[in-house]
């Protein structure tokens, strides 16, 4: 990282205060501020003024549902549960949201073919070349929750040698505006976010990375935007210990 001289840093301080610098330049400014008290004071004033721009807006009345949504989500989320690092499934165990604790995974129904995911014909999976994989894949089939997602089905094919799985789900409940499907792998009761989809069709295809042998369950929830921990009960959940090869 090239260090900024005094003039260069001074030139960038206002944009820095407005969060209007590209990432690399912002890091260079911060590096400079660590050792330059004069610019640190200037940056603080500029930042203070810039943050006041929030107060130039008029209050607006959100829908009454927003308060209810927030209260419900808060009740389902442990306080001070700083999200786990999404890239590190081995992250510290955190307490489960109350709703999550009531999850009771149902036994996975054995699937027979490694190619079931492709068989579903979901566009996201077209072209995935199972035949090129040398390891023996493990397949799982999960059924949707009887009340939340009747008729939904998810098929997961895991390629151990790649530590990669292909998911194909169909018949999921349609999403409302702003909602997403969120996929989870669960280790010792702790859900780890494995990505989202905003599919409008109720069909879902995705590739999941990770060593599935480290996890006990797979689940899908519907969330109001991507979450670090689930805020709703799963619409589909199943065990990962009973797949077929």
């Amino acid at each position: 990282m090239t260090r900024l001289d005094e003039a260069e840093a001074d030139d960038l301080l206002a944009a820095y205060a407005l969060d209007a610098l590209p990432e690399a330049d912002a890091r260079r400014v911060e590096e400079h501020l660590r050792t330059c008290s004069e610019h640190r004071a200037v940056a603080a004033e500029l930042r203070q003024t810039s943050s006041m721009l929030s107060l130039t807006v008029e209050d607006r009345e959100p829908s009454p549902e927003l308060r209810r949504r927030i209260v419900e989500a808060v009740k389902a989320t442990p306080a001070n549960s700083k999200p786990v690092d999404r890239g590190a499934p081995q992250a510290a165990v955190v307490a489960l949201p109350r709703r999550f604790r009531s999850w009771r995974p149902r036994p996975a129904r054995l699937a027979v073919a490694a190619t079931v995911a492709i068989g579903l014909g979901i566009s996201a999976l077209i072209g995935y070349q199972v035949g090129l994989v040398t390891g023996r894949p493990v397949a799982y089939t999960f059924q949707g929750d009887a009340s939340a997602a009747p008729g939904a089905e998810a098929r997961l094919v895991y390629f151990k040698d790649r530590k990669e799985a292909v998911l194909a789900a169909s018949g999921l409940p349609k999403l409302a505006s702003g909602q997403v499907y969120e996929m989870w792998l669960i280790k010792n009761g702790v859900p780890v976010d494995k990505g989202i989809s905003a599919s409008a069709t109720g069909d879902l295809g995705a590739k999941l990375s990770g060593d599935l042998s480290q996890f006990q369950q797979f689940a899908i929830t519907i969330e109001p935007g991507e979450q670090q921990l689930p805020t709703t009960k799963p619409i589909l959940i199943g065990n990962l210990q009973a797949g077929s090869t």
Partner: protein, 188 residues
């Protein structure tokens, strides 16, 4: 809840740290309209703005233990998260990266809180007046950065002016606004 607004915010922050969900409801009742107004200003979409506000309040709930009242006000923290979430929705899929960067930056000890120097009962009209007093080009430049989430390079391209001009408008615009507010005792 009684007492001065600032005391009430400190009280709410302490409750949040203890995991008292009623404090989050109080926080929403106090600042929900402002938070939503900010998100709507950025996103211009009811549903997306409400999603951003919900995410921000949940972020406060999840991270309250790390909040330090000596480094900033609860309102400032909340609004900074609202802005980050809203801009990230506006600008695309960069949310996680930005929120880590910006939310932690809000607690950087080098940067004093925007509202520590300001009474909690902010004279918002004066702040709006100060902003409105700026020449159009400066005000528009600040708007594109703060409410649009554009970088200075992107703003130069949009406004079809040299990058140096954008930097100058940003700096002079913020300094003018500060002078306006200092003269009226809004900031020290």
């Amino acid at each position: 809840m009684s007492g001065e607004p600032e005391d009430q915010d400190h009280h709410m922050a302490a409750q949040l740290k203890r995991g008292d969900s009623t404090a989050l409801e109080s926080l929403y009742d106090r600042y929900g309209g402002l938070a939503y107004g900010l998100a709507f200003r950025i996103l211009n979409d009811r549903s997306a703005a409400e999603d951003a506000v919900q995410e921000a309040f949940l972020a406060v709930w999840r991270n309250a233990s790390g909040f330090d009242t000596s480094r900033g006000s609860l309102r400032n923290w909340l609004l900074s998260i609202v802005r980050n979430r809203a801009i990230d929705r506006l600008r695309g899929n960069v949310r996680i990266h930005r929120e880590v960067q910006l939310e932690s930056a809000e607690h950087a000890p080098e940067v004093p809180d925007a509202w520590q120097a300001v009474a909690v009962d902010l004279e918002r009209k004066q702040i709006r007046d100060g902003f409105a007093e700026l020449p159009d080009a400066q005000r528009r430049t600040l708007e594109l950065a703060y409410f649009g989430g554009y970088t200075h390079v992107e703003i130069a391209s949009r406004m079809q002016v040299p990058l140096g001009t954008v930097k100058g408008r940003m700096r002079i615009g913020l300094e003018k606004m500060r002078s306006f507010l200092v003269a009226r005792g809004v900031v020290g």
